[in-house]
């Protein structure tokens, strides 16, 4: 503070052209190191002879600035350096001291600077000052308390706008500024400063200027800023960045400056939290990239190339990109690496990227996998719905005389699920949310799940353990639902060009028998390819190579009657089977494997598939692209020899009509109506009276005889 005062004395004496600059120097210096040569910068500024700024300062860093003077003036500084916040100025002694100090360094530092009005020379200085102001701010905070800091800032900003706006009448300004500085509150008190500068009598103009400035320096009660600082910050920013048409965006700049002002203190804390997930996933993906570098022996490399259970995903992605389908090259590459990781950790015979299913919170990447022979890992079997017989046996009291009527409702027997590697469970599916995250195996699908999945339509959330709340209630959670949808989509949309697959030779001739359904196929080594044009024009050139799922929920028909007969023989309990099951259930038949897709049913006059050539401009290298209209998001491409299927979408079937949830079944009868128990409505009052009247009429002649009949009259 004292330095300041001294400086101000100096200024008062000297006629300086520019107030801002020197002013600022003073402030800055004082803020930085009250003990050290604060006066240093002061002097620089003071340069009475020069109008323009002490350009000398700019090239030097703020710190150096203070340090050099320090070196020079340790002596006097030490003496003059008071404990930092000193409210009461003791002008004379310090003044003289300061004056001396001022003199010498000033000369050395002086750089002939030129035009006070020039924006350019000023701006670096401005900037520096701003930097200084800011850097010193925290220091001052600690040493001098908030007030000081405030004034520091005001101080160093002060000069900026001041310079620009008040070029003319600045000498007295200097004094003015100093006064400001001294008073840590923005509402400075002219009076207290007065005694120090009694030499010059303020004129009316000066008073006006002073009060205007005081007003500008008033701190906002809400935000702790003041207009003066804010304007100087803004102008600094504009001059630094030089945007086009700055006047149009000046409001936004103002807002940005305000925001930046506040953020400074909290920066470190916020950044850490926010960026963490980004770094996390980047680390995981880095692990993906590095997995190949373990013990890179040549032997392993050969093994890898020989085994080749991984598909060439990049090649498929390239073709799909021609069709306008895909996840982006980088993402596909990461998926590729994730698949490689999958094949490395599990004994997999064949692996394929099945597609991506979008969810509400997270998405699923699905890989279709075939384990090697005999290496099936069966995880814990899902508990199938146990076959309960809900007859009256389980809970009914058995009275000899009065057996409660038994319901003849039987829980429908659950259809057993298909064995692995057959039908809907032919492949095993792994999912992950993002490449880099661990792959999770999906459980096998049961027919019940498929049947109910057909009746509901729910979005996936992205969490495998999320419950599915729906009517009819889905037996399982999201992982089961996901698996069921994957099975349906595969069955509905996996197609290949005609002739690519053929039936194996061992099957023999039988086709029509129940057991003899062909469900295996193999690649045709003699496949010669089909012209792309043919593939596009005619749908009969494409065939389904995944078995159709019957309405029972399985691919291979299971006859439930057989089973129940066996159980009847086994169980010895009495049952009142009312024989509601038909003796014979129609066997469900679906289209056989390798049916051309031209046989697919239309959806209300919309063809089930749309075919396109990937490019009309260069047809000779184009590929055929198939798009499913039944399952939006399912694509297949073929270039004649190669083909591939993929699904990217929400996982739902298309239906032009609205979804209607199925109606509840009618309420069952509790027990059979029979002679013994008949449910009747209670008689109404009139009926009762009529009955009674009839009874009395009949009883009149017979009243002697039967009194029992009266008892019969008692109705409930």
């Amino acid at each position: 503070m004292e330095d300041l005062t001294s400086a101000k004395e100096e200024k008062a004496d000297q006629e300086v052209g520019e107030v801002g600059r020197p002013w600022e120097e003073i402030t800055v210096a004082s803020s930085q190191d009250p003990e050290s040569g604060l006066s240093e910068p002061l002097e620089l500024e003071q340069g009475p002879e020069r109008g323009p700024q002490p350009r000398s300062s700019p090239p030097r860093s703020p710190q150096s600035r203070t340090s050099t003077p320090l070196d020079d003036f340790t002596g006097p500084d030490a003496s003059s350096a008071p404990s930092p916040p000193q409210e009461a100025p003791s002008p004379p002694s310090i003044l003289t001291l300061a004056r001396q100090e001022l003199g010498t360094p000033w000369q050395s530092d002086k750089t002939p600077d030129v035009d006070p009005k020039a924006g350019t020379p000023r701006s670096p200085h401005l900037e520096q000052s701003s930097d200084k102001g800011e850097s010193t701010a925290p220091q001052t905070c600690q040493s001098e308390g908030n007030n000081f800091q405030q004034s520091q800032q005001t101080g160093h900003h002060l000069y900026g706008p001041e310079d620009v706006s008040e070029n003319n009448s600045k000498q007295k300004e200097l004094r003015f500024n100093i006064f400001q500085e001294e008073d840590s509150n923005s509402n400075y008190d002219l009076d207290c400063a007065e005694p120090g500068v009694s030499e010059v009598a303020p004129s009316l103009l000066e008073i006006a200027i002073q009060s205007a400035k005081a007003y500008l320096l008033k701190t906002s009660s809400k935000s702790g800023l003041n207009l003066y600082d804010h304007l100087s910050d803004m102008l600094t920013k504009v001059l630094d960045e030089r945007p086009e048409n700055a006047v149009d965006i000046i409001e936004s700049i103002s807002q940005d400056v305000k925001m930046a002002h506040f953020r400074k203190k909290l920066d470190t804390l916020q950044n850490e939290n926010e960026m963490l997930p980004t770094y996390e996933i980047a680390e995981k993906q880095k692990a993906l990239f590095l997995q190949g570098n373990l013990e890179g022996a040549d032997q392993e490399l050969e093994d890898e190339i020989a085994e080749n259970s991984l598909p060439n995903l990049m090649e498929s992605a390239f073709y799909f990109e021609q069709a306008g389908v895909g996840l982006g090259t980088d993402e596909t590459y990461r998926i590729f690496l994730a698949l490689k990781q999958l094949t490395d950790t599990h004994p997999i015979q064949r692996c394929r990227f099945w597609g991506k299913i979008l969810g509400l919170e997270m998405n699923y990447l699905v890989a279709e996998v075939e384990f090697r022979e005999g290496e099936d890992e069966e995880d814990i079997e899902d508990e199938d719905v146990p076959e309960e017989r809900d007859d009256g046996d389980s809970g009914a009291d058995e009275d000899d005389e009065d057996e409660l009527p038994r319901a003849f409702y039987k829980t429908p027997q659950a259809t057993p699920k298909e064995e692995s590697r057959t039908g809907a469970n032919k492949y095993v599916y792994f999912v992950c949310n993002e490449p880099g995250r661990p792959w999770v195996k999906l459980p096998s699908v049961t027919p019940a799940q498929i049947v109910i999945a057909r009746k509901i339509k729910k979005f996936f959330t992205g969490r495998l353990d999320a419950p599915i709340v729906s009517y009819p209630p889905f037996p399982g959670n999201e992982s089961n639902y996901l698996r069921a949808q994957i099975a349906r989509i595969s069955a509905g949309t996996h197609v290949s060009p005609l002739g690519f697959y053929q039936f194996g030779e061992e099957e023999g001739e039988e086709e029509e028998e129940v057991e003899g359904r062909r469900d295996s196929f193999e690649e045709n080594p003699d496949f010669e390819g089909i012209q792309v044009i043919d593939l596009v024009e005619s749908l009969s050139n494409w065939v389904h190579h995944v078995q159709h799922i019957l309405s029972q929920g399985r691919c291979n028909w299971f006859n439930p009657i057989q089973k129940s007969e066996e159980e009847e023989e086994e169980e010895d309990e009495e049952k009142e089977e009312k024989g509601e099951e038909p003796d014979y259930i129609e066997q469900e038949v679906g289209p056989p494997l390798l049916t051309p897709i031209s046989e697919d049913l239309e959806i209300q006059n919309i063809p089930p598939w749309t075919t396109r050539l990937s490019s009309n401009l260069i047809p000779q290298y184009a590929i055929a692209v198939l798009r499913s209209n039944l399952w939006p998001g399912a694509y297949a491409f073929s270039n004649g020899k190669k083909f591939e299927n993929v699904y990217i979408g929400w996982g739902h079937k298309y239906s032009p009509d609205n979804y209607t949830p199925p109606a509840l079944p009618p309420v069952c009868q509790e027990y059979p109506s029979g002679a013994e128990i008949t449910e009747m409505d209670d008689p109404s009052v009139e009926e009762e009276q009529a009955f009674r009247a009839a009874q009395e009429a009949a009883a009149l002649p017979e009243e002697m005889e039967e009194t029992e009949e009266d008892e019969d009259e008692e109705d409930d």
């Binding site: 965006i249 997930p277 980004t278 306008g324 982006g328 339509k457 979804y659």
Partner: protein
């Protein structure tokens, strides 16, 4: 998405699976600059693609200086030749609301819809079945308009309103911060505000009139009709509309990149309440 940053935007929006093939991309880059010059738009947006049975429509929109002024819509079948579509009107919306199903892909296709109309003959009033022809072009126009009104998204701060009225692109928009990017309230509908006046005075007091002059996505009905996800760690925020599946909005926080694109069949997902 802005045609200036088409390639980057397509890359960022690729998470939804639908993109453009290389020849379409290349044609778009060329033709959109020509459109901008010929029609003198200040900004051209590639709006997206509507999948039809026979062909696909590629849609672009041109904006004038005032960002919220009605946009001009153009369509093309091959990304090279663009034709201007008529502006959407109320009658068109009513007329085409009866048409269901996929788009055909042929702009001159006409849907037939039979309806009972009351005809007066002399003094008798009877109902007669009338077959109404609805042009696919009108259907296209009204669907695009509906999608725009319902789900076109813009982040808060990207546009600002001057005191004189016109809305400008905010050149000092540096992107949303990460914490803001995860909240639905930082995204606005890119259309004239409908619900602003229904806010209480207390809420309005917190709004900044130059930035908060559009409806936010927060109060969309049904609740949960937006899926908001962070992809690539926290480097990209993607909003997908569940009401019009196919609409994807992406934004890379702390950068200026944002945009939305519609790649879908042009049908509203009326089953949304059952699916949530």
């Amino acid at each position: 998405m802005d045609s200036e940053s088409l390639l980057l935007s397509l890359e960022l929006a690729s998470g939804s699976g639908q993109g453009l093939s290389p020849d379409r991309r290349a044609s778009l880059l060329t033709s959109l600059t020509l459109v901008k010059r010929d029609y003198r738009y200040s900004r051209v947006l590639f709006w997206g693609r509507i999948l039809g049975l026979v062909a696909d429509y590629y849609i672009a929109q041109g904006l004038s200086e005032d960002q919220l002024a009605p946009r001009k819509t153009l369509y093309s079948l091959n990304c090279m030749e663009w034709s201007l579509l008529p502006p959407a009107t109320e009658e068109m919306a009513v007329e085409t609301s009866v048409v269901k199903g996929r788009f055909m892909g042929d702009p001159s296709h006409e849907y037939e819809h039979t309806e009972l109309q009351k005809m007066k003959e002399g003094e008798k009033v009877f109902e007669e079945e009338v077959v109404v022809q609805i042009k696919e072009e009108n259907r296209l126009v009204s669907v695009i308009d509906q999608i725009d009104k319902a789900v076109a998204v813009i982040p808060r701060g990207a546009l600002f309103k001057t005191p004189f009225g016109p809305i400008h692109v905010n050149r000092t928009f540096e992107g949303l911060s990460l914490s803001e990017a995860k909240k639905l309230s930082s995204y606005f509908h890119f259309r004239e505000p409908v619900e602003l006046k229904n806010k209480t005075l207390l809420e309005k007091a917190d709004l900044d009139p130059s930035l908060d002059f559009m409806d936010s996505l927060e109060h969309d009905i049904p609740k949960g009709s937006w899926s908001i996800q962070m992809e690539r760690g926290n480097a990209l925020v993607v909003l997908r509309s569940l009401l019009w599946p196919g609409l994807t909005f992406f934004h890379a926080p702390r950068t200026k990149n944002y945009g939305y694109i519609y790649m879908g069949t042009g049908e509203k997902n009326i089953d949304l309440p059952f699916m949530l």
